[in-house]
Symmetry: C2
Subunit: 347 residues, 2 copies
DNA sequence: GGGGGGACTGACACCGCTGGCCATTCGGGC
DNA sequence: GCCCGAATGGCCAGCGGTGTCAGTCCCCCC
C-alpha cells in the first residue's frame, strides 16, 4: 500500500506531493503540520497522495527549519540491562507513530567530563526531549543544562523532584511497604533490611516504605537488623552473612534490589540455611533472574516499560495538543510478586 | 576550555566562526571536513577559533547538505536485554568521538508490517549506517532494503553471510567446540545437546561446532541425546526432563544458550539430581545470571561489546580514511568460562 | 618578463522544509 | 452588490551547512 511510487528510487519530496495533489507545497506543509486553515476536502486529497506515495517529510530539513530535532534522548547511568532495555521499549512505544526516534546515551556519572559530554549531546542534537531515568534523573546539574538549552525533559524517580509535567514518580516506597506487609502478615518479627547505597533516592524510598509497611503492623525496624549494601550481588552476600551470623538472626530479609536478594540467597546457602524454611527473602525489581533462581524470588515489580511510555507521552503531549501538566496521569504502582522465597517463620 | 563564548545563549554557527577567523564560511567548512586544500596556517587559525568557542557543526544542517544523517541505526529483534545493552554500548564505544549518535530500533520480525517499518525507518532517517545483530542480520530482505537505500550496514552473525566489510563473524561454532572439548576431556561419554530453534543460524553453528569438538576426541553425538529447544527457559526444562528420563541418561548436557541451560538445572533439581555430580551442564552466552545461579554455570562467552564496537568501526572506517575491507580485523573468539556446573562423570 | 599550473579561497546556489506577508479566490450573510 | 472571513497560493527569506566553479595568488620555468 505504501510503496513509494517514484521509480527514481529517491524518496518523494514535498514538491512531488504538492504537484500530484495539485496544491501548493505550502498547503502540503499546512496539512503535515495540522494547520486548522485547511479545508477538509483539500486535507483529505493531500493526505491521500501522501499515503499513496509513502511520503514522510525529511526530519533533517524539518528539524533545521524548526530549530529542533525529532530525536528523543535517553540519558542514563544504569547498569541493569533489564531496566535499560525495558525503559527504551516503553519510550519507543510512545514515540513511534509520533515520528520521533530514540537516541540512547548511556553515560558515566562519575567521569569528570560527564557534564560536558551531556551538555554537548543535548545542545548539538537540539533534542526534542530527554528522558532521565534514575539515577541521572536525580542530578540537578543535568536538569540545569536541559533548562538552559530550553530542552523539554521528563525525570523518572522514586519520589517527586520537579513539577508534575516533568516527573514520573515510581513510588518505590509503596512497593517496599507491600513487601513489609507481606512479611509481617506471614508472621515474621525479626525482619532485616539491606539498603542500597545512599547515593540513590530509591534506596531511601525503599527503606522508608519498608518501615512504613512494618509500622502498619505495629513493627519497628531494629537498627541491629539493618545493613547498607551497594545494590550489588557481592554486597548482598556480605550484608546477609553478617546478619545471619547474629546471635538471633532474622527470619526474613528484605533486600533493596534483586541483585542483593540473590546475594542473600547465596549467603543463606553458604550458611546451610533453607530458603524459605529458615529464611524468607524479598527483593525488588523482578529481574528475569528472579524467576529463574531457586527458589524463585518473591520481589517487587516496577512496570518499567509503562514508566518509559508514560514519560515519553509527557514529552509528546504537545504534539497531540495536550498539556502534560493536566494529562490524566496513570500512577505507577509497584506490585508484589509472591513466589517461593517467602513463607512463615518456623514456630 | 570549551565554554561557548556567545552570551546570546545560542550555540555558535559557522558564520560566527568564519567572521572571527576572518575567512569565508566555506573555508571553515573545509577545515571541519578535513579538506587538504587549506593552508596549514589558515587551518590552525580556524581550529583555534573553533576550539575557543566550543563550536561544533549542526548535524541536521550538515546532514541535509550531505543527504545523509549522522545517525547509526541498530535494528534488532533480540529478546535478551543483556545482549542488546552490551551491543549498544559497544557500538557507542566506536561511534562517539566520530560525531555520530545511536538510534535504536527494536522490531518484531514476526509482524507483517516488519519490512515496511524497517524500510520507512531507513529511508526517512537517511542513516549513516546500520548495525544488524542476529537474528535480523540473517534476514536478506532487510539487507535488500539497505542496499536499495544505498545505506551502509554491518551484519553480526555466527557465520559469514556477506562480503567481509559488511560482516562481523562471531564463530559460535568455535565456542561450542570448546564446550565439547571441555566435556570430553572431563571424561564424559554420554553427552547430550539441546539445540536452539532452526530459525537461528547460531543454533546450527553451535550444534555443528559442538559435534566438531566431540569429533576431535573421537566422540559422536548420539541422535538419541539431541533435543530441539527454543532458546527459552521452559524449553530447556522440557528437553532436559526428557533426556534425564532416558534409560541411560546423559552425564552431561550442552544447552544452546544459558536460558535453556538454567532450565536444565531446574529439570535436574526436579529429578533429584546433583549438579554437577550427577549431571554436568554447559550453556552459551554468559548471561549475568550464569554467575548468580547455583551452581555457577559453565558457559561460553561472546565478547558482545567488542562485537558491537567492531561492527561500528567498519561503518566509521570511511571517516578515518580507512577501507573497511582491508582493515586489520580482530577476530571474534568465543571463550569458555569454566565454573561450577561441570565436573567429571561419576565412575 | 610572460606563461602555466597548482595551491588556496570565496561567492553563490542549493539541500527540503517552515514562516511571514500579501494577494487572490470563493462562498455566504446582509 | 458589498463586505468579510476562510482557504489557498506565491514568493522570498532563512535554518546551517556543503558543492560547484570561478577566481586570486604565488611560484617556477622557459
Amino acid at each position: 500500500m505504501s510503496e513509494p511510487k517514484r521509480p527514481s528510487g529517491k524518496p518523494a519530496t514535498i514538491n512531488d506531493i504538492a504537484r500530484l495533489a495539485e496544491v501548493s507545497k505550502k498547503t502540503v506543509s499546512r496539512v503535515i503540520n495540522n494547520s486548522p486553515f485547511v479545508k477538509e476536502d483539500t486535507r483529505r486529497r493531500v493526505e491521500a497522495v501522501i499515503a499513496e506515495h509513502g511520503y514522510s517529510p525529511d526530519p533533517q530539513a524539518r528539524g533545521l527549519a524548526f530549530r529542533r530535532s525529532f530525536l528523543v534522548g535517553m540519558i542514563y547511568d544504569n547498569p541493569s540491562p533489564n531496566y535499560v532495555v525495558n525503559m527504551q521499549q516503553g519510550v519507543l512505544d510512545a514515540v513511534r507513530g509520533a515520528g520521533l526516534e530514540l537516541v540512547v546515551h548511556p553515560c558515566n556519572r562519575a567521569s569528570d567530563r560527564f557534564l560536558d559530554e551531556v551538555r554537548s549531546f543535548i545542545v548539538r542534537q537540539k533534542l526534542f526531549g530527554v528522558i532521565l531515568p534514575p539515577s541521572v534523573s536525580e542530578d540537578d546539574r543535568v536538569v540545569q543544562i536541559l533548562k538552559a538549552a530550553d530542552c523539554p525533559y521528563v525525570r523518572i524517580a522514586s519520589v517527586s523532584l520537579d513539577v508534575p509535567e516533568c516527573m514520573v514518580v515510581t513510588h518505590d516506597s509503596r512497593g517496599a511497604a507491600r513487601a513489609a506487609r507481606h512479611l509481617a502478615e506471614l508472621g515474621h518479627r525479626r525482619i532485616a533490611f539491606i539498603s542500597g547505597p545512599d547515593s540513590f533516592r530509591s534506596s531511601h524510598e525503599r527503606g522508608r516504605g519498608f518501615q512504613d509497611g512494618l509500622a502498619e503492623h505495629g513493627l519497628k525496624l531494629d537498627p541491629a537488623y539493618v545493613r547498607k549494601g551497594a545494590y550489588t550481588f557481592e554486597s548482598g552476600v556480605e550484608a546477609a552473612a553478617e546478619l545471619l551470623a547474629l546471635p538471633e538472626p532474622p527470619t526474613a530479609i528484605f533486600a533493596g534490589n534483586d541483585e542483593m536478594a540473590i546475594g542473600v540467597m547465596k549467603a543463606a546457602r553458604d550458611a546451610g540455611m533453607d530458603v524459605p524454611g529458615d529464611l524468607s527473602i524479598v527483593g525488588f525489581d523482578d529481574l528475569p533472574m528472579a524467576s529463574r533462581v531457586w527458589p524463585n524470588l518473591t520481589t517487587v515489580r516496577l512496570p518499567i516499560r509503562d514508566m518509559g511510555r508514560m514519560a515519553a507521552e509527557k514529552l509528546t503531549a504537545g504534539l497531540h495538543g495536550l498539556d502534560a501538566a493536566t494529562m490524566i496521569q496513570p500512577e505507577v504502582d509497584p506490585s508484589l510478586v509472591v513466589r517461593d522465597s517467602t513463607t512463615g517463620p518456623r514456630p
